[in-house]
Structure formats: C-alpha cells, structure tokens
C-alpha cells in the first residue's frame, strides 16, 4: 500500500471505531425512548421496529396518574438538592482550608479524605443502618441526606481541592495588600474564579446523589419517602411487567442527569487529573 492509501485506510478505521462507540452508548437510550412512546400493542410487535407507528404519551400519563412517580421525583430532587447543599458548603470551606492554610496534620487529613473516597457503600451501609435506628431517624429524609453526604463529601472535597489549586494565590495576596480583609478577598477574588469549578462539582455531586440506590433501599421503607431509583424498581415487581411504563420512567429519570452532565461535560476531562469520579 502507498503511504497515502494507508492513511486513508487509517482514517476509515478511525471513523468506524468512533461510530461503533457512539452507537453502543446511544442506541440503548434511543430504544428506551422509542419503547416509551409506543402503545402496548407496538411494544410487543414482532418483528420489532424503531419508529412508533402511533406515537403516544399514554405511558407517561399512566406513570403520573396511576403510580407515585411524581412523589418519588420530588423526593429525589429534595434529598439530592439538600445533600449537595450540605456537601458544597462544608466541602468548599474544607477545600479552601486545604489549599490556603498551613497547619500540622493537613497532609494527613487530605490522605484520609482520599482513603474514604475509596470506601464502597456496601461497607458503610450496614453499620449505618443500625446506627440510624439507634439514633431514631430511620425512615427519614434526614438519614438519607447524611448518608449521601458520606460518599458525596470526600468526592467533592477532592475535586474542589484540585480546582482551588489552579487559582493563583498571588491574586488573594494582592487583594490583602490593597487593604481588603480575608473575607472580602474570598468573596470578590476567590469565589468568582472558583465558580466554574464549584458549579461543576455541585453537578457531579448531584448526579452521584440522584443515582443512589443502596442507601435509599436500606434506609427508607415508607413508600411516600422513596426516591426514584427505588420507586421505579418497585414498579418492576408487578406480576406482568409493563415495559412501556417502565421505559417512560427510565426516560424521565435519565433526562435530568444527562442534561446536567452535558452542561459541565467539558470540565470533566480537564478536571480528571487529580479529581476523578466515583462508582
């Protein structure tokens, strides 16, 4: 082969690879969306086809009217939102401390955080469950917010620390020299610069909390307190599985996570070096 033909073959191979990658990631979601818009008779059509012949919202309507989906949705938003709030307030202060102050034990604390970041939920959730009963907050959203903080906080601290390290310390020093006190320096210099990192971290933390299954399964038993992943799994337990309904639920859980993700996607590859993800 001539060098030119070899390069053309290489490009072709590259595009084939890229198409396969995108297809395997996207197709299951498209199939889910397609199923969610089919009436029952089309869901089980043989042979199956992609574009619904008589597209309908009836699966979504049934989801809203005959199940507790909206309650689960609200619970998921509330609990994940509160967990993010708690995590970010405590995490931003902690990350600021780890990058801006020198004190004995600082490096050990950073290492400790990295270690807990590697703990798997299954190792925490069993003792957590017993402890929550002892404290008397079983079956409450408070228990869930605290549980989510247990895996969100180490993750957020680590990511925020990486973001804060990229903000040059000289800018704050200049503000201090100009007569600003520390609080003003933080409010007017650090926060604006750190904002993209703080937003990105909030969203990744939100996705972590939004996606949780195990803590909710174990800590919550009242139906009206369940979050989406657990509520939707219970839809699955009816005798005859209503695939159209399940796929509609799947679409509605996925949309918020993916919308948020697309918004901060570009921070991900850049921020990975010292941050990372969990799961």
């Amino acid at each position: 082969m001539t060098p030119r033909a070899r390069r053309a073959a290489g490009r072709a191979l590259l595009y084939v690879g890229a198409v396969v990658l995108v297809f395997q990631a996207a197709f299951p979601f498209l199939w889910m969306a397609s199923t969610s818009m089919k009436p029952p008779i089309e869901v089980f059509a043989d042979p199956p086809y992609f574009v619904p012949k008589a597209p309908t919202w009836e699966n979504f309507v049934r989801l809203f009217t005959s199940t507790n989906f909206l309650i689960y949705f609200r619970n998921s938003l509330t609990v994940a939102g509160l967990a993010v709030l708690l995590t970010m307030v405590v995490g931003a202060a902690g990350a600021y401390s780890l990058t801006r102050y020198r004190y004995p034990g600082r490096e050990q604390i950073a290492t400790l955080i990295l270690c807990t970041y590697m703990f798997a939920p299954i190792m925490i959730v069993i003792p957590f469950f017993i402890l929550v009963k002892k404290v008397g907050i079983e079956n409450t959203h408070l228990a869930l917010v605290l549980a989510f903080a247990s895996f969100c906080l180490p993750f957020a601290l680590w990511l925020l620390r990486a973001f804060f390290e990229t903000i040059p310390i000289e800018l704050e020093e200049a503000a201090l020299v100009d007569g600003a006190d520390r609080l003003r320096a933080v409010v007017y210099v650090v926060i604006p610069l750190a904002l993209p990192g703080v937003i990105a971290t909030s969203i990744f933390t939100f996705i972590l909390a939004w996606n949780d299954y195990i803590f909710t399964r174990i800590l919550i038993s009242a139906d009206e307190l369940k979050t989406l992943p657990v509520g939707v799994q219970d839809l699955f337990h009816s005798a005859l599985i209503d695939w159209g309904l399940i796929m509609a639920a799947g679409v509605l859980i996925t949309v918020p996570a993916l919308a948020f993700f697309m918004a901060v996607q570009r921070h991900l590859v850049a921020g990975w070096g010292s941050g990372g993800l969990k799961g």
Binding site: W31, A120, I122, M123, I126, P127, I130
Partner: protein, 295 residues
C-alpha cells in the same frame, strides 16, 4: 499572609473542621462500628444483641454460600475489569484523534456512566428479554442463533451481568486515560514518526509508558469498586432464582442483613470484604509500585 501564623493556623483548622467531623462521623465511625457489630449476634430490626466473639467469622469459614459468593465475585471482577481496561484504552485512543464531531462523540460515550444504575439495568433487561428482546431478535434474524437465548436464566446471567457492567463502567477508564493522553507532548509522536516508527511501535514506546501510571490507579480503583459493586449486581438478579448465580459478596452481605436479619453476620461479611481489599491492595502496590511513580 504569614504575619500571624497562630491565628492563620486556627482559621485553617476551623474551616476544615466541619468536613473532617462529617467524614469521621459518617464514614470512619460506621466502618469502625461494623467491626464491633461483626462480633455480635444481632437481629437487624430489634435492639437485642449478644457478644459472641469470633463466631460469625468461624461460621463463614465453614459456610459454602460464602465461598461460592467469593468465587462469583472473583469471576465477575476479573472479567469486568479486564474488558473495561481493554475497551477503555481502545476508546480513549480513538477519541484522542481529531475528527469531525469529536466533542459530541466524547460526551455521548460517557452517557452510560452518568445514569442511575436502575436505568442501565431496566433498559438492558428489556434488550435481553428472551421473548420480546431486541438482542435475541437481531441474533435470530442474522442467523447466528436458532432459538432464543434465556439471557437472564441461570446459564447466561453472569455473562449478561458482565456485559451490562462493562457497558456501564468502561467510560470511567476512557475518561481517565483520555485525560492523561492529552498531556503527552505531541513532539514525541512527531519525533517517532520522523524515525519511521509504525503506529503500533508508537503506541508501545510513546503512549504506553505515559499511561502506565494512570492505568495503575485506574485498575486499583476499578478493582475495589467492582469487587464491592452492589447495585448493578443486585438489580440484575435480586439474589433469588437465577440471581443465585450472580450472588457476589456484597449481595450476600446485604441478604444476610436484610433478608435473614443477621446484622452481625452481614457486618462480618463487610469486614471480610474490607480485609480482602486491604490485603490485595498491599500486594498490588508491592508488585507494581514502580509503575505508580511515573504518575
């Protein structure tokens, strides 16, 4: 900033204190408590408890179900990690090249990693459904199989679980490797090209030495997370029926605690898992420490 070091140190402590307190209270303390719990005979829902020393561990030693779970976990971890690393590195190399629509492709390929596990599981259970599933239909239409395969039956459920898990988690490897690839100086590739090195040689002699460090970290993290993976495994099989054939240690620990209400035994299983991970990590560092330094 260094004018009043004591006051500065105090502020430093105060700002990290709430985070440190929460981590100690919500992570370190529960993990410590589970060691104590593992020495008790304790019902999961009632307050009664009785100290029984190491009896839970002795029971596990002679428990065939425990050894079976450990084995399933090893099989599951080995295959999912191997496939994730191979696919993740290959995908990263593809998405590192420049082509039309690359940024969009990068975003889409990460989707499966960003969604709740329940969604991954329900959409794969639908694709793998033996009667109405698209996969069986496609394989039969292509003449690859004659009769539908029961993907979620006892014979194939481990394979199906591995497929779903790899699909869901290899983007993590892709992300980490891609981030590292972007920091390799382009001049190195140019120089190799001038020297007439083929693509394979460029990968072996330029790319691989640079991604060694990140692979070291990624394999460690993915091993810990696959060995302790609960939600995907549980939601695929729920521990019963064909699910017995994918009952890994985390699922077994969950069932001991919440199906049989033996919180002490459940905690003992969590401690054993933790011990296995600690020992494996130490061995892993001992064997591959050198790689980590390249970072």
């Amino acid at each position: 900033m260094r004018r009043r070091p004591i006051a500065q140190q105090a502020i430093g402590f105060l700002t990290i204190a709430p985070g440190l307190f929460l981590i100690l209270a919500l992570t370190i303390y529960p993990v410590g408590y589970s060691v104590w719990l593992s020495l008790l005979e304790k019902h999961s829902f009632f307050p009664e408890q009785r100290f029984i020393g190491l009896d839970n561990y002795i029971y596990l030693w002679g428990d065939a179900e425990f050894w079976q779970s450990l084995w399933y976990g090893v099989v599951y971890s080995f295959w999912t990690i191997t496939l994730q690393i191979l696919l993740g590195v290959a995908a990263a190399l593809i998405l590192h090249e420049s082509f039309l629509g690359r940024n969009l492709a990068r975003g889409i390929v990460l989707f499966p990693y960003m969604i709740p596990t329940i969604v991954a599981v329900i959409l794969w259970k639908w694709l793998l459904n033996d009667t109405y599933g698209l996969l069986n239909y496609a394989l039969m239409a292509l003449g690859i199989i004659r009769d539908p395969i029961s993907w979620l039956g006892a014979d194939h459920i481990m394979l199906s679980l591995i497929i779903v898990s790899v699909w869901q988690f290899f983007p993590f490897v892709l992300l980490a490797v891609l981030a590292r690839l972007q920091t390799i100086p382009l001049e190195l590739y140019e120089a190799a090209k001038v020297d007439g090195a083929s693509a394979i040689r460029r990968f072996l002699h330029v790319t691989l030495p640079h991604i060694r460090g990140i692979l070291f970290v990624v394999i460690l993290l993915r091993s810990i997370w696959m060995f302790t993976k609960f939600d995907t495994v549980w939601l695929m099989g729920e521990g019963a029926g064909a699910g017995r054939f994918i009952r890994t240690l985390p699922v077994y620990a969950y069932m001991r605690t919440l199906t049989y209400y033996q919180a002490g035994l459940g905690a003992a299983l969590a401690v054993v898992m933790f011990g296995i991970l600690m020992v494996s990590t130490v061995i892993y560092f001992g064997l591959f420490r050198r790689e980590a330094d390249i970072g």
